[in-house]
Assembly symmetry: C2
Homo-oligomer: 494 residues x 2
């Protein structure tokens, strides 16, 4: 498709000036509509070094309200993030805002493939797949995504580089990396071409713009934006309001309804055995933590379970002997006002671990598939989509080197009642039980359907559920620690 | 003071176990009260390497609710931030939460002074002064600040290091930096001692805890926390509710009331001269931006002014030719629900520039001294304190290498009316004018008093106000650019 672009197109200066003025006023008016309608917009700019993306952006944003757009270029700190997509999640626009990304979420992986020591096609393809999933996720959540590719031929780029390098004031435009990339123009060309074709087929097209004539490119770029923003606004205005989840409670989605009921909750452990077992494992966990830190491994430990199942208690024993500087507990409740402005996964993305960190999620993104589904806080379409989205998230984490361990702590309905009653009696634990806990309990059957769905459909081999029999707290706590130690044992030789 | 600590204190194991159990239950109960009362708590742990701060923290937090405290250790990424205090601002607890900082905001500066190539006493003292101001700011805003120093003598530390280094499982406890610091024990001792004494005098004391006997240290630490948290809760419960600002509007605080009225607003520029002048300056600004990026200079450009004074228009001309990847415009409106949980400066701290970044604030922290004061959104005490706090903030930025340029764009009341009316007529500008603008206009005289105060009291030489005569937009826009270019000209030789 790249080779079909007519690079001879150009625009005389007078026509350009007039058209640009009109266009940028129309874009400014559209921007105000975006704000009113609360549409988040992501614009991705890709193309050859030397096409002058900075100037192209500039010539169009002049009439936009600078308070509602952001341009994200490459990170000046030079720190490489092992989670490539984190940067893009972090900078997602809230409703009414525009984020322009200079270079796409593909570019780092492409550079690595072409310029790196070893061309790992498998890794590249995996990244491209994740990117496709990511794009679908944000589009599904209501983001207007506009991808633009500015094209030039190899000889013209070379000529432009030479021109710039000869001028004192422009010399700094051309970096060593730019020149190095240009040496591999053909390799980049065929890879971009492949990506552009594949994205075209999957309906998520790139807008290809000939950038040899600057004036022509500006107007083309502006017209693409205008057309796409107009479509986004029309779509939003005519969008049927999704009814909130109703079927969410009653119907099994997976057909799998007996996972929980098949668990044998009779496992138990005496207090003495428990104390002994705990002590030994906690010592081993401390060594494990040091190793994780030393090797720079990012870890996610995720806990879900019924109210009063013992999530907090298990976490407490897990961290008891750990160095508190090595882990962080992330309590998850209903999203706050700011979090609610974004994709439901956004608030988790910004809390993912860095190298050597252990993040312990006390509840998690599975809220989408439990409380939000059962209580109708999202539409049927939204929670049904979430099975796939969550699997994609977890795959991405694991493929990027994060160790993801998920725990479901199971108790039966009678045990929950016993614990609720006991909490009511204990002055030191009364604060732990609220009216909401009792209300949730009334919906036990609905939740059981939802949990069975989530345990069976979000259970990929690389991030499978550890089911913990929780009627005996002692047994449950020790089993959690055992699973964690077992997971790392072979790997790290702890 | 350090030399007066009795290091011989110890606690037998049985007594320790019993006391610790009681203590940690009481601390857990206090934590729940903190949540109810919405008190943010900052605990700073300082002391010699080898005292085992990790274990000390651990032994006490066991019964705390892990969802409401965080431990912040040293940054694993190893990136040094030129704004040392940014990390602490970023991790401020919201109401009801506890942040434990392992090592204090002094430690980096102290290491640099003792271990660095050149012992810069002036720099150290300046940092210690900033820290004192910072502590006062957070305490004034309602944070309960608890500072703890764990003490041991040099020989005992040495013995402990040797013991650890001999054990395979504990070898990694002792880092090279620990050993290096220990070589300079005496220098650290006298410096810490000086800081502890000074802080004692200024009423912001360190709790000194002998840490030779681990058991004794744990109980002491716990008792300090208990006592301090109890005091914080009592204070909060008995705190008089501050009446909102009433005198804020009518009375001049500085006695300086004529700064604005003395400005000569007759300056003007013809359209032709304007166009020519703009073009030249915008070209120079582009070169300046490249230089700023290249040299890694952090820049804050701050714009304040009446409604319709032309802040947006000036920013628009400023960024017109800039590379959009080099700057960011930060629009400032009323704080959102999350921002409202923190100190009023918090939301600005987290947006400060990094090296090579230009942050353009469209309105700023001066909201405290204008709209919040005049409308009574804060108490008299709060806005009166803000003159000092804002001066401290700006000094800190400048001393850390940030270039801070502040602009007040002035128009008179008649000119504002003309612009409001013109906006009402222009279909493309109608959105810019709201009922609030008209309401603010009614309070012109109150605002004039507030602005005169802020311009005269927050006008330190290193971050002084540029007063821009704004009745003629052309003149104002060119003058803004001139001031920016002039500021950097000599410095960067652009």
């Amino acid at each position: 498709m790249l080779s079909q672009i007519d690079l001879s197109k150009s625009l005389p200066r007078d026509q350009y000036k007039w058209e640009k003025k009109e266009l940028s006023l129309r874009l400014a008016a559209l921007q105000r509509q975006l704000i009113v309608d609360g549409i988040p917009v992501v614009i991705v700019l890709e193309g050859w070094d030397g096409v002058g993306k900075g100037s192209l952006i500039n010539s169009l944003i002049y009439n936009l309200d600078a308070r509602s757009y952001r341009v994200i270029g490459k990170d000046l700190t030079g720190v490489e993030d092992f989670l490539i997509l984190r940067k893009y999640w972090k900078n997602m626009p809230s409703p009414g805002n525009i984020t322009l990304f200079d270079r796409s979420w593909n570019s780092k992986a492409i550079d690595e493939f072409i310029l790196g020591e070893k061309a790992d096609l498998h890794k590249l393809n995996r990244h491209l797949k994740s990117v496709k999933e990511f794009e679908k996720q944000i589009i599904d959540s209501g983001v207007c995504l506009i991808k633009v590719f500015f094209h030039m031929d190899s000889l013209s780029i070379e000529a432009r580089f030479e021109e710039w390098l000869a001028e004192k004031e422009r010399k700094h435009y051309v970096s060593k990396l730019d020149l190095k990339r240009h040496e591999h123009y053909d390799a980049y060309f065929s890879l971009y071409d492949r990506i552009i074709k594949q994205d075209y087929v999957s309906g998520n097209q790139w807008h290809l713009i000939p950038a040899l004539d600057f004036n022509y490119a500006v107007i083309q770029f502006g017209e693409v934006l205008e057309k796409r923003l107009q479509v986004a606004i029309n779509l939003k205005r005519n969008k049927p309001i999704l009814s909130k989840s109703l079927s969410g409670k009653q119907n099994s989605f997976s057909g799998q309804t007996s996972l929980l009921s098949e668990m044998d909750l009779n496992h138990s452990l005496s207090k003495e055995d428990y104390k002994l077992a705990l002590k030994e494992r906690q010592r081993n966990l401390l060594l494990l933590e040091a190793k994780i830190r030393e090797l720079g491994i990012p870890v996610v430990l995720l806990f879900e379970g019924w109210d009063a199942a013992g999530k907090g208690g298990a976490i407490k024993r897990l961290i008891k002997k750990l160095d508190p500087r090595g882990y962080q507990v992330i309590p998850v409740a209903a999203p706050n006002a700011v979090e609610n402005l974004y994709h439901y996964l956004w608030r988790f993305w910004i809390k993912m671990p860095h190298e050597g960190q252990i993040k312990i999620f006390d509840r998690s993104w599975y809220g989408r598939l439990m409380v939000e589904r059962v209580e109708g806080f999202c539409s049927d379409l939204e929670w049904q989509r979430a099975f796939r989205e969550i699997n994609q998230l977890e795959s991405y984490l694991v493929n990027s080197g994060v160790h993801v361990l998920k725990f479901w702590i199971q108790i039966d309905k009678e045990e929950q009642l016993r614990r609720f009653e006991a909490r009511k009696m204990d002055p030191e634990k009364q604060w732990k039980i609220t009216d909401e806990d009792w209300r949730n309990r009334d919906k036990w059957d609905d939740y059981e359907i939802a949990v069975n769905d989530m345990l069976s459909l979000c259970n990929q081999t690389q991030a499978s559920w550890n089911l913990i029999e929780g009627n005996c707290k002692y047994y449950a706590r020790v089993k959690v620690l055992d699973e964690i130690l077992k997971h790392f044992e072979k790997l790290l030789n702890v």
